[in-house]
């Protein structure tokens, strides 16, 4: 059992608490038992002393208050010996007293009758040992009328004694002592103590096993999580930890863990798809180069054919270069936005330049370009180089997807501390189900026709990344066969 483990710690804690509770509680019960037993015994002794006093009193009452009768009464009551002339008059009393003696088991007890100075006058028959002496201070207390209870050890016997003041006619004071054995009480307490000292460890040991069992149950989800975690590799992210029959707090852990794996799974999937797309977009130009070269070399060809193949090779090499450059740019955008150099510039002037250049590009397809923007300057903080890239990516798309003699319109306005630039075209439009995907990497629109310069599929992705780094965004609205509107929003200074 590891000393570092939760199970061990929980067990120790729980046993310790249980142990303390058991000990405290048992002590309490034991002490209270002890107190009760002693208390009862003392009450018994008190009772016995009173009965003896009462008996002496009744004897004296019956026989007369003279000294002789008194001595007889004391002797008779305590030792059952003695004679008196009018003894037969008290035969009923005697009989009753005998009954009481039997009932109280007085014959087992030691009884002393002392005078006020502590001198022993009469002792019960069974008292062979030395007299019980009383210390002066106790005598004093007795003379005040107080009862004294004390425990005495005599010849290895544990005894409890009561000393009660007695007087029958207010003149002479005497002391009645009743002493009884503590053996039953002590024996009972000893047995009880033994039970306690044996049972507490047994209970604790048993509880510790039980505790470990429960701790294991509670910690089972942790074991499950560990097992599941070990099964996960970058290839197999399908395992999950089951969340039924799990306690509340563990459920949170299990769910968080499962969600984490799901997110990882999606990330890996995304990366795999991305790699797949990259592979495809680079392999296709390579396949073309290889195929054309392969076929060309199978026979002797004429010069024109060789030129054609070389031209194709060049084109496809360019294409691959563009893909690689775009990818590098995307990685830079994602992870090192500090390549951007922000500066203050006038958006209107900037867009005018772009507009002029777009006109030239679009004229190849006979597409007309128009612009509608405010006259006053509008200031932005941004990286002109990359923003130019952003806009030209959008314009390239517009030109590519708009048929000959179509239109491209720029509209610029500033509102709410933002610049809103929209580029609309009368082109092929984008299908509704594709709209959320167009900004994804490598999303190619359907190849409707032959493109002179096929796209890398990364243009919109790059544009969006640039917009994000400028704290802006790009939105699109489109209708198939009617056209699309791309709206770029950038914050103003």
């Amino acid at each position: 059992m590891k000393f570092n483990s939760i199970r061990f710690k929980i067990s120790v804690l729980y046993i310790a608490i249980l142990g303390v509770i058991l000990i405290v509680y048992s002590s309490f019960l034991y002490l209270s038992l002890r107190y009760t037993l002693y208390d009862e015994l003392d009450n018994e002794l008190s009772g016995k002393a009173r009965e003896i006093a009462a008996a002496i009193d009744s004897y004296v009452q019956a026989l007369g208050y003279d000294k002789q009768s008194f001595n007889f009464a004391v002797k008779r009551v305590i030792t059952f010996e003695g004679e008196h002339p009018e003894q037969d008059q008290i035969s009923e009393l005697e009989r009753q007293w005998m009954q009481r003696v039997d009932k109280l088991d007085l014959k087992e007890d030691y009884i002393n009758f002392l005078n006020s100075k502590g001198k022993n006058l009469v002792s019960s028959a069974n008292l062979q040992a030395a007299l019980f002496s009383l210390f002066p201070k106790e005598l004093a207390r007795l003379s005040e009328g107080k009862i004294i209870l004390s425990s005495i050890k005599l010849e290895k016997r544990n005894l409890r004694a009561i000393s009660a003041p007695f007087s029958y006619d207010d003149s002479e004071r005497y002391i009645i002592q009743v002493v009884t054995s503590l053996k039953p009480v002590i024996h009972l307490l000893q047995v009880r103590l033994m039970h306690i000292t044996i049972s507490i460890p047994v209970i604790l040991i048993f509880a510790s096993f039980l505790g470990r069992f429960f701790a294991s149950g509670i910690l089972r989800p942790v074991v499950e999580i560990t097992k599941t975690a070990s099964k996960i590799t970058h290839e197999d992210l399908s395992s999950r930890v089951k969340a039924e029959h799990v306690d509340e707090e563990m459920k949170y852990l299990v769910n968080a863990f499962n969600n984490m794996i799901s997110r990882l799974e999606r990330s890996f999937q995304y990366i795999a798809e991305f790699s797949s797309h990259v592979a495809h977009d680079l392999k296709t130009p390579l396949a073309i180069i290889r195929g054309e070269s392969d076929v060309a070399l199978r026979k002797i060809r004429d010069v024109a054919e060789y030129r054609r193949v070389i031209r194709v090779t060049l084109e496809e090499t360019e294409r691959m270069l563009r893909v690689i450059e775009d990818l590098l740019l995307l990685t830079k955008l994602d992870y090192r936005p500090e390549v951007f150099k922000f500066g203050r510039f006038d958006l209107i002037e900037f867009l005018w330049e772009i507009y002029e250049q777009s006109k030239i590009l679009a004229s190849q397809k006979g597409i007309t370009v128009s612009i509608d923007m405010p006259q006053e300057p509008v200031y932005l903080s941004g990286d002109k180089l990359h923003l130019r890239r952003l806009f030209f990516n959008l314009i390239d798309n517009a030109i590519r997807f708009t048929p000959e003699h179509g239109r491209i319109d720029f509209a610029v306005k500033s509102e709410n501390k933002k610049a809103v630039v929209s580029i609309s075209d009368t082109g092929a439009g984008i299908a509704e189900e594709d709209l959320p995907k167009i900004f994804d990497r490598f999303f190619h629109a359907d190849r409707t026709g032959q493109e002179v310069k096929p796209s890398t599929g990364l243009g919109l992705s790059i544009a969006q990344s640039i917009a994000k780094i400028h704290s802006g965004r790009i939105e699109v609205k489109s209708k198939l066969s009617e056209g699309s509107v791309f709206t770029v929003t950038l914050p103003l200074l």
Partner: protein, 227 residues
Amino acid sequence: MRILLVEDERKIAGFIERGLKEEHFVVDVAYAGENALFLAEVNPYDLIILDIMLPDRDGISVCRELRRKKVDTPILMLTAKDRIGDKVLGLDSGADDYLTKPFAFDEFLARVRALLRRERVDRTTTLRVADLELDQLTHKVRRAGKEITLTSKEYALLEYLMLNANQIVTRTMISEHVWNEDFDSFTNVIDVYINYLRAKIDKSFKKQLIHTIRGTGYILKERADEI
């Protein structure tokens, strides 16, 4: 032999088509899945070359659809995806072979020939009927040891007849396997080519191998009287 090439990248389709035609194959090209399905249902191809990444529906689903429609032409799948899962998916969907781009054209041709051989009992690359030999690798034709020069179409026609040696071949079959979609059924171009072929391989030899079966078609075999 007639091949259906399904590939959306025009440049790739271009060199594959050219390369195959130089090997005397007859090629039809489809740039999208739906078109491919249509062509495959209407024409009996000897081989279908199918790219996986198509614009309208992916090659895997086209392949499954073809098999579902009981088109059992051999299918060679092409793609840039080369992960094991992709290969398994492609082959399990009904393709007979799988080639990743970029590929060496020689290997591509060898696989094409291998798939075409599957239908045959005699699986060599040299076809023989009596003393007539046709080497599919070198495209050389010999009869009784003497080399015979044939044009591309003549070669394709002879190859088809030899692949179906001892079986009657109808004009329709010839038009479907030796010509592509450009075939004009209102001409007698088939008869013309049969004559060209006869002139080259039968005329100066004792035994005639190409026989006309009236009303049905032609047959290439050693003896005319055993039908």
